[in-house]
Amino acid sequence: MAEPARVALLVTCLVDLFRPSVGFAAVKLLEDAGCAVEVPRAQTCCGQPAYNSGDKEDAKAIARQVIAAFAGYDYVVAPSGSCAGMVKAHYPEMFADDPAMRDQAAELAARTYELVSFLVDVRGVGTVAAACAQTATYHDSCSGLRELGVKAQPRALLASVAGLTFAELPGAEICCGFGGTFAVKYPDISDKMARDKIADIEATGAQCVLAGDLGCLLQIAGKLSRAGSRVEARHVAEVLADMADTVPPIGATRE
Amino acid sequence: MTARDDIIGGIRRSLGRGALADEAAGKLAARIAAHRPNLIPARATSLDPPARVDLFVALAEAVQTTVARVASDRDVPGEVARYLAAENLPAELAMAPDPGLDALPWAERPLLQIRRGKAEASDAVSLTPCLAAVAETGTLMLVSGAATPTTLNFLPDTHIVVLRASQVVASYEDGWDLLRQRSGDGPSALPRSVNFITGPSRTGDIEQRIELGAHGPRRLHVILIDDAEQSPLR
């Protein structure tokens, strides 16, 4: 196992509001991998909604806040490909005209990771001690896949979950239609993409669908339940952290 | 100010400079003159000539080109006659007035009606030579000229091409070199048309289903003479 590391968790605004379980699953996985985890209080969001809406000034202001909040940690880890991608791929680009900030952004980017790829690629985690007696399929979130190369890592760790049968999702790499504000600005198009995604999911016969991004999961879970589907949705971290039996799936009743 | 001056001036303003200084322009001119190849896929270049010919045949057939391999020039008229009969086509063809084709023993097939010249609207079958064949993608390279009118490649429904094994080159870059060797310098020395032909005419415009013979020939037949000579290039 790699040396102990001081990791700051980038909670993400969606996990903070909708599903803290994902955050606690991430903490458990990181601690099991020998990391000391802290959660900087001065974080709110990575700024992507502002950035993708063309509001560069607010995006930069939020980015400065993030850069300051996460200074000094060995690593910054987010249970989200899109938030980690924002920091890793877009923060340096955002400050292209400001050499001092650009350097700070690049420095932060170099130690920022999406959760599952951090566990596998940096901490060398090969297996997890978890059980989940279900057939599961996996949706590749776009940012994680294309900006950060997250593809094999979740599959590798899921293969070690006791009792889990994995069914590959046809069109796994096709966007679910969330896209942040896209989902509410162009709801008809977003809905078509969601319908196609859940049709692919249903066709696998899987009992649950997993992904590494809560944005995708809200879209997918929301469409599955509106369509009356019995397929469950969870964040992959929850299954890997052995919480599949203790935390209800996304959008399920908690009573 | 002419449109030309406006456009060139606009480009220079956008690039933040005036006209290129002589030295910079000289470098670009040298780049053109050197015409160095970029990366050439190993697919064909890694093969020896016989394997290269086999690759050409395999890739050509994969796109519905038919290929008949014959031992020598003597066999060509017979193959033409056989092919036309097998395809239920009349024994008539429009032939490129090319000395190499003229020299074939057509007299042995007197029933073949051959008209030399460019294609007419009523021609059903044409016969042409080619400059080379590119093994990389099963592609024929044909050039226009006094002896090789381009209409023969496109108007008739069936196009037969005579190819020697020694004409099969590895890559398109080999084809450009052949063109330069043959044409000398300057653009007016190039032929009017260079056609790279990879299989018969086709379209997928109706429900993505591939149909052959959209406007050009629906049949492309290559008579490949297995001459043992080495290719003049690699």
Partner: protein, 474 residues
């Protein structure tokens, strides 16, 4: 053509609701990506070629003045004529003049997106000249008076029943009882109807996939052979091409050709790749007597040196369209002009203005699949974002989003306040949604809940729970 990009949302809704379009796009959406993937699997050097193609295009744009002047000299040396056109009007006028000079009544056309862009056909028709589209897809949509919906497969939005209906209505001299319900029959009929047009045409207009500076040549890449019949039979061959089509050498062209067909249709090479240099030579038995190139700017040079320069690398292969979940959901007509899909979302505002085409760069989830398949690595989502930045700065985004975003960003920059509000919201929505676990309707979230449920929050914010855990000493 008249742009309808400003009614994008309505166009898209119509496209989503159209069952014929759904079937047609369904076939295309699976076919093209699979074939491209197979073609690339057969060429290990593909990724390296992408980098080289990008480098060739970038180098060319950085020296575009030099290469254009060289290209012109070589066209002239080969016996051709170059006409420079700053905008669509000058381009149309140049083509019309050439057609008139050869007394053209009927003109055949190969497929050309730039000809659509400058609205060439309407102009010729208005001046007594009949343009006949010869690419099968373009011919079909010309008969239907529709614009193309895809840059390489213009009739991709149609099922064969519609083509049958169109041919029956248009080819009135033929036997009305003839059987033309199947693709082979339709193709054969189009071939038969167009052959006399090829032979009768006085001038032939083609586009150009590439213009080779080294030799003054134009290159067209087709599968049907219509572009070749268009250019070799009539008296005059007119090439219409935008000036970023220039490539320095034949070798550079070979690199780009290796990328093009594989990215577009998954073919190793298209059926016909033709290099044309000047008019027929002395002694040639066929070929055009005149060769003209109309070099069109129409907004390209304005992109050089700016945020959108990378768009000038575009090879018009349509890989981005074929892999875009938005394009395959709504079809090409929804974009409202000549260029649909991701490349259209970037290029259209540049050519016809952000006010007209503002929706296009916004209707994207930034999934990035387009950029990942672009043969010359154009950063399409980044440039769509640049358009959004311009809209934001100009105050063009709808007020509810602008103000909503500003409020949210203001709070997000104040972590203490933010954490309190998030905890409040988590408790409230968590409590309201506890029984069902999700909301079928939510005030202010109608755009979401109209078609999806909104999962309920768990009821506490992560930050609050973490703070409690820390205080309890874990």
């Amino acid at each position: 053509m008249e742009a309808t990009s400003h009614t994008f949302t309505d166009n898209a809704r119509a496209g989503l609701a159209d069952p014929v379009l759904r079937r047609a796009l369904g076939m295309a959406g699976t076919g093209f990506p699979a074939r491209r993937a197979e073609a690339i699997a057969r060429l290990p050097e593909f990724e390296a070629l992408r980098d080289q193609g990008k480098a060739i295009k970038d180098h060319t744009i950085a020296h575009l003045d030099f290469y254009l002047e060289l290209y012109e000299r070589n066209v002239i040396a080969a016996g051709g004529v170059v006409h420079w056109a700053r905008d669509a009007a000058e381009a149309r006028a140049a083509v019309l003049d050439i057609c008139r000079s050869v007394g053209a009544k009927v003109v055949t056309k190969g497929k050309s997106m730039v000809a659509e862009e400058i609205a060439l056909n309407e102009h010729l028709e208005a001046n007594g000249i009949t343009p006949v589209e010869t690419d099968l897809g373009e011919y079909i949509i010309q008969l239907r008076h529709e614009p193309p919906s895809h840059i390489i497969a213009p009739a991709i939005h149609l099922m064969k029943e519609q083509v049958t209906e169109t041919f029956r209505a248009a080819h009135t001299a033929l036997d009305p009882d003839r059987a033309i319900s199947e693709a082979p029959q339709l193709c054969a009929e189009a071939r038969a109807m167009l052959r006399p047009q090829f032979l009768a045409a006085d001038a032939g207009i083609t586009g150009a996939n590439f213009l080779v500076a080294e030799t003054g040549s134009s290159i067209i890449v087709t599968n049907e052979g219509n572009g070749d019949l268009t250019q070799i039979l009539p008296k005059a061959h007119i090439v219409v091409a935008s000036l970023e089509k220039i490539v320095p050498t034949l070798e550079d062209t070979a690199t780009l050709l290796r990328l093009l067909a594989r990215s577009a249709t998954g073919q190793e090479f298209s059926s016909y790749t033709t290099l044309s240099t000047g008019p027929r030579r002395p002694g040639d038995l066929d070929g055009p007597e005149q060769y003209h190139v109309v070099l069109i700017d129409n907004g390209r040079t304005a992109l050089i040196g700016g945020e959108f320069q990378d768009m000038l690398r575009c090879l018009r292969c349509a890989a981005c369209l074929n892999h875009c979940p938005v394009y395959t959901a709504i079809g090409g007509h929804a974009y409202g002009w000549v260029y649909p899909g991701p490349m259209g979302a970037v290029l259209t505002p540049a050519l016809i203005g952000l006010d007209e085409a503002g929706d296009l760069p916004n209707a994207s989830s930034f999934c990035g699949r387009c950029e990942s398949v672009c043969p010359v690595k154009i950063p399409l989502p980044k440039m769509m974002r640049h358009w959004r930045e311009r809209q934001f700065v100009q105050g063009k985004a709808p007020p509810v989003y602008r103000h909503g975003l500003k409020c949210w960003a203001w709070v997000a920059r104040r972590p203490g306040l933010y954490h309190e509000l998030v905890e409040l919201k988590a408790r409230m929505l968590g409590w309201l949604g506890k029984r069902r676990g999700r909301f079928r309707a939510l005030p202010l979230a109608g755009a979401w809940t109209k078609m999806r449920d909104m999962p309920a929050p768990e009821g506490r914010s992560f930050q609050s729970l973490w703070a409690e855990r820390q205080r309890a000493g874990k």
